[in-house]
Amino acid sequence: MSWEPVIGIEVHVELMTASKMFCGCAVDFGGAPNTRVCPTCLGLPGALPVPNRTAIESIMAIGLALGCSVSERSVFHRKNYFYADLPKNYQISQFDIPVCSDGHLDIGVDGETRRIGIERAHMEEDTGKSTHLGSGGRIQAAEGTLLDFNRSGVPLVEIVSRPDIRSATEARVYAQELRAVVAELGVSDVRLEEGSIRFDANVSIRPDGEEAYGTKVEVKNMNSFRSLERAVDHEIRRQIELVESGGLVVQETRHWDEEAGVTHSLRVKEGSSDYRYFTEPDLVPMVMSPEWVAQIGDRLPELPAERRARYQSQGLEPGAAGSLSNLDDRLRVIYDEAVELGAPPRAVANWLTGEVVGWLRKSETAPDQLRLGAPDLAELVSMVDEGAVSSSAAKDVLDGVLSGEGSPREVAERRDLIQVRDTGALEAAVEQVLGANPKAVEELRAGEDKVLGFLVGQVMKATQGKADPRTVNQMIRDRVSG
């Protein structure tokens, strides 16, 4: 039998607002434990939450970027469960009236576009962090637990996809695309390692052609896109093997073990957990007026998908458009400006995604430290185009420009990389090569074009690479046919 995987992804995004979701404490990473806390985010008796308007605007932007409708009225609920790093022993979250619902995200996999439905995006608050002592991080054997509430109350957006994902690769691409969208909006620093964006996968399988869903398993603890793909792939195979050997998938939460490359059971869910959701009585319903929503919509930046489509309309291949779109904002601005100056889009994109990115990596330079103006890149491209420098010399020129030696032309001149295109200056070399290779000349005359390259090469050698190959090429053709 053949099996179809059915995957849904839940994403938690920590917003980088100045203050926490329901109090005035700063949102930041690092720092001494329990220094960014107050009565509200510590759950002290009597303290009350006050919602953060910027966080609400951030989730509205996320929802609009994902094609969701923003509810005119949205309600906070309490999700009740006991956990040591959850100060109130309930999390302020949302239940039946989330801020955003019914959106989608288009992803490109193997040259095809797949539309993944977004069920909802809702607002909630983060918990504190537990550190278990003397146990290799495992709670069961811990000698003690340290609690840090700096993260408690940081605004979190949970984005829940529909079960529209059909492979581990799609799961990864979905996650990457979603991260790119959120990054573009500038509402989170989306760092996987720091947990400011976190992915959980709900995985099930069903026989091909079957409509009903199988029992789903929640897989957690993936901290890179690669581990997400591996974990989902592993979980699909585990379930298929289990079912094919006569077993049954049980509804549970499984933990991805990156080193071992396997998932193992964390807790079995008996039915659905009873979080005893009820309306948060300390907060009034949020009202998102159509005017407010429109205002947020108008402020949305160009999203990755829109940008890739624009690049393709400028003549870039889908792959190149994707690579360029993923570049740092600073590099993309150079592209836009260079194209504006009339430089050919493909060449500009190639330079940026290839040589420039390579140079940044090699020199460990941050993109915002880059000494490359759009006019420089446009000039370099046009120098290559008109043959003023060879494409290999152009890489040296770029290196010089990036090292701060001046404009491309200045660098090319200073480093003596300008190609000789003056036919008078090349005359002697061409004559000498043709004279020294009568056999090749004969073959060329007989129509064997492949010796042309050899002859051009000889001239290039004789001129120490400074000749413009296209000029030399034309000169030889003229001589031989003439």
Partner: protein, 487 residues
Amino acid sequence: MIASSVSEAGRLLRSGETTALALLEDALDTASRTEAQLHAFLTIDSDGAREMASQADADLADGIDRGPLHGIPVALKDNMCTRGVETTAASQMLAGYIPPYDATVVARLRSGGAVITGKTNLDEFAMGSSTENSAYGTTYNPWDLSRVPGGSSGGSAAAVAAGSSLLAYGSDTGGSIRQPAALCGVVGMKPTYGTVSRYGLIAFASSLDQIGPFARTVEDSALALSSIWGHDPLDSTSYPGPYPDPTAALDRGVDGLRVGVVTELSGEGFEPAVEAATADMVARLEKGGVEVSEVSLPTFDIALSAYYLIAPAEASSNLARFDGIRYGLRVDGSTTEELMARTRAEGFGPEVTRRILLGTYSLSAGYYDAFYGQAQRVRAAIQEDFARAYAEVDVLVSPTSPTVAFEAGARVADPLAMYLSDICNIPANMAGHPAISVPVGLDDAGLPIGFQVMAPALGEEVMYQVAAEVERLAAFSLSPPAHGAAS
């Protein structure tokens, strides 16, 4: 007593005939004479209070007048957080807990120059109607030391009745200010939901809780309310305004007002003396020019049941934070779960435990709709009933409590009988409306009887207007036997 009301004390202070320090020492004196019997206070902060009183005197001498409560001794129910002063909610769970911040009400009292004398006793986490559920011992009624003062704000009611504080504040979730006020013969008032900040009030049921004053006179009550209410950005449910003026109509009389007598708040379970006192006051009001009609609000019969689903549900969540992890009591265990479970088992008293269990149950999957969901629908129906009634009348009146103060211990073993103490009070909480209890007389045993005036949301002006008239007509004398020399 140097002064028998806040307004009188204010006049004496400003004319130089007395000082804040003298008013304070007078109150502390009374407390030292009565506390052994009453146990109205959990904490008396004499040193802190003397500092505040000295400051109040110094300010007045400098010409700084902070308003009607300047220099006035005030006691606070021990579920309002006071920075640096132990705040326990009368629970073992918070024994020794010292809040690092002031509740908004406390901050406003401080900036209004009030002298905070201490923290008064209550039923644990404000759950109860007799102050017998305190983990630190019962408070007794100054009118009869064998009887309860009502609850849950029994300490505040008893303190004002005994004169150990000129003014006190309590919280009212389902009658916890009005019922003890009635049983102790003082004026107790619950404001419109959202007009007094809940920031720093240890939550019982967030959608119902509201802080309000206990006073010796209706005018004092109005002054005490205007000193603490107003929009608070720290409480998202706070009403932005505009606010009515509670004192505006105190002297206006009641001629031409329409008063509705609630049919459902009479009959079975109501003591004859209470019914008689109520009917007598209604008759006097009618003579005074009001148009009296009988109004039926059928949902009042089911309000109590709905309340006992909603309030415990919210409480079960609000009290989840008391887990032994960050503050308060901790009873160790071999796992975190065990630590939490042991702490909660030991830290909460039986009534709190009962309500947490009740609330957890009513919110549980499969039961939510039949219990919590249904109760919310009843709540909406109560609001509709009120709206219909207020289309016909300006205020509604009833007894505050079906009975006078009952014997200590009488209802401890019968939670339902205890819950019925608040039957007249709960509808106003469910609707978020203001209501006040004014003492109107004594029964044959010399125990006070309270008269309740309810008004629509933000109807504090007309509510106080009627309450002032009730006070004039009743000419009640606040002189409990345990009040001793000051009576």
